[in-house]
């Protein structure tokens, strides 16, 4: 058995410890930047919904500013964002390379996308529910938590899963400029040294990560949809 694997995946067997480490780096980057992006994106999405025209805390000026900033960041390709954020990353985390250096660009690449997704998930909430809550004397903050967030858990889960999956993709790209992780691993060995088995196994691992994320998402959606 071990022989077969060694024959089929010679380079993977040779570097399995490094592979393990890179997988961990990918998980770390996804998890760390994911949690921060989730909090920031959710907060921004909520602010967008609350301040939009007809929102519970309507503020067209604030909405207009956020709307433009988000659009601006969304229009920058991630690879350019990575490069242009190097000075800022250095300032904030002390280094622009390695796993640590990738966190900030990942957050910048994810938050604008995710906040838009949150905005659209929250806007699916029926206006009638908001109206009923207001008629029962719920405050605007109460409406945000007890109506918008509570009633859109399934759609928020859906957009969180989508974002998490695309974040895994971004970490692989961050690897391209020395961020570490599976992307870095695949490029260094699979691509540059033409070790096909490494590319192959990396893809499988990424696929498994994505599938796990999606399964968790589906489970939550199923549990919370009535």
């Amino acid at each position: 058995m071990a022989e077969i694997i060694e024959n089929l995946l010679p380079h993977v067997v040779e570097k399995w410890q490094e592979l393990l480490e890179c997988t961990w780096q990918t998980l770390y980057m996804t998890g760390f930047s994911g949690i921060i992006s989730f909090v920031l994106g959710l907060a921004l999405g909520i602010v967008l919904i609350a301040t939009r025209k007809g929102g519970v805390l309507q503020n067209t000026v604030l909405y207009g500013i956020l709307d433009k900033i988000i659009n601006l960041f969304r229009s920058i390709p991630f690879i350019i964002l990575l490069a242009s954020l190097i000075p800022l990353t250095r300032l904030v985390v002390g280094t622009a390379i390695g796993t640590k250096g990738a966190i900030l660009p990942l957050i910048f690449g994810t938050v604008p996308f995710f906040s838009r997704q949150v905005e659209s998930a929250l806007s699916e909430v029926d206006d009638g529910l908001v109206e009923a809550a207001a008629a029962m004397g719920t405050s605007p903050i109460g409406i945000i938590f007890r109506v918008y967030l509570k009633e859109s858990i399934p759609s928020l889960t859906r957009v969180t899963t989508i974002t998490a999956v695309s974040l895994v993709g971004l970490t692989a790209m961050a690897g391209a400029i020395g961020g570490g992780g599976l992307g870095d691993f695949a490029i260094r060995y699979g691509h540059q040294r033409n070790q096909i088995d490494i590319t192959f196994v990396t893809v499988i691992i990424l696929l498994v990560i994505v599938m796990i994320l999606q399964e968790i998402g589906n489970l939550i959606i199923k549990r919370t949809t009535h």
Partner: protein, 347 residues
């Protein structure tokens, strides 16, 4: 109970100004069921939303009991809204919450213990006859059941007023009837004042004490349901009456020259309409005896509104022209509106 004084509200959409409500003044009394009827776009919803200030009127005052709601701060207004329950055409229940959680919603954050909330919710569910649906989700309920849950939820804060915006418009006639019956019971047993918005005449007739007819943002006619519908002054009010009265069928029959309305000489088709609450004498048999005429009832549409009959009868009267004239005079003296719809000529 509720005073609306000079309420106006307009909306600007796509640069166009729509005056949804124009200078409406209404007084809704305590413990009554007050109906507001009008066609789509008349401004009914906007007006009722001005009562709990979901919509801020551009001008005018809203007074509930002693308090002028239009003067309250946002926080005071939220507190005041607990005195005003509201139900909607599409129920607006929270789909992610069970029936129990929906009804408990307005009770949260009011310093009640879990047990107190539970007791209150179960009591409300019993009131709307849904004790067994406690753990169901709204998606598992029928329209009528959903509206009952919505009513229970609206009553959770023991409001003095219940606003119903087209609360039965999404329901079939039978379910509508059962919901209206429930509202009537609540009105009688809890003394809650009810404001009902509708475009259905049948709803007004079934439970309202007083009615306002709205057209183009204005209240064009107002008063006791019986008075308004016995003596409609506005075309629109007549149109609403026609939507439910079977009497209008006679006009179709006349137009078609149906055999039902074919007359021999000496016969006349008369339409008799009751205008006062007092009519319960046996008028038809009285006139046939007294004036020696034969009365053949083609059809009648009489409904009991506010404990008195409202409606009319279409008869073919046969007899001498003078006798029929006398009979008509007799009826008119008793405040019956008589119209000769067709005259068969003399012998």
């Amino acid at each position: 109970m509720i005073e609306l004084a000079g309420i106006s509200k307009s909306f600007v959409t796509k640069g166009k100004n729509v005056e949804a409500v124009k200078d409406v003044t209404l007084h809704i009394k305590e413990h009554e069921i007050y109906g507001i009827i009008g066609f789509s776009g008349a401004g009914k919803s906007t007006l009722v939303r001005c009562i709990n200030l979901l919509e801020r009127p551009d001008s005018g005052k809203v007074i509930l009991g002693e308090r002028e709601l239009t003067n309250l701060s946002d926080k005071e207004l939220r507190e005041a809204r607990k005195d005003i329950g509201m139900i909607f055409q599409h129920f607006n229940l929270f789909p992610s919450r069970t029936v129990f959680q929906n009804v408990a919603y307005p009770l949260k954050g009011r310093g009640l213990s879990k047990e107190e909330i539970k007791e209150k919710v179960l009591e409300l569910l019993k009131l709307v006859e849904l004790e067994d649906k406690e753990n169901a989700y709204p998606s598992q309920l029928s329209g009528g059941q959903k509206q009952r849950v919505a009513i229970a939820r609206a009553l959770a804060t023991d409001p003095k007023v219940l606003l119903c915006d087209e609360a039965t418009s999404a329901l079939d006639p039978q379910t509508t009837h059962s919901i209206l019956k429930l509202l009537k019971q609540l009105n009688q047993n809890l003394g809650i004042t009810i404001v009902i918005i509708t475009h259905e005449m049948a709803v007004i007739k079934e439970i309202c004490d007083r009615v306002a007819v709205m057209e183009h943002g204005k209240v064009v006619e107002e008063g006791e349901v019986f008075e308004v519908f016995a003596n409609p002054r506005q075309e629109i009010t007549k149109a609403f009456i026609n939507t439910t009265s079977a009497l209008r069928k006679i006009y179709d029959l006349l137009e078609e020259n149906s055999p039902v309305v074919a007359l021999k000489p000496g016969e006349k088709i008369l339409k008799l309409q009751y205008l006062e609450k007092s009519v319960s004498e046996a008028l038809i048999s009285t006139i046939s005896r007294k004036f020696n005429i034969d009365c053949n009832i083609i059809f009648a549409s009489i409904e009991i509104i506010g404990d008195a009959p409202l409606g009319g009868t279409i008869i073919i009267a046969q007899g001498k022209a003078e006798d029929i004239q006398e009979a008509i005079r007799y009826l008119k003296e008793r405040n019956i509106l008589v119209e000769v719809l067709k005259d068969g000529g003399n012998h």
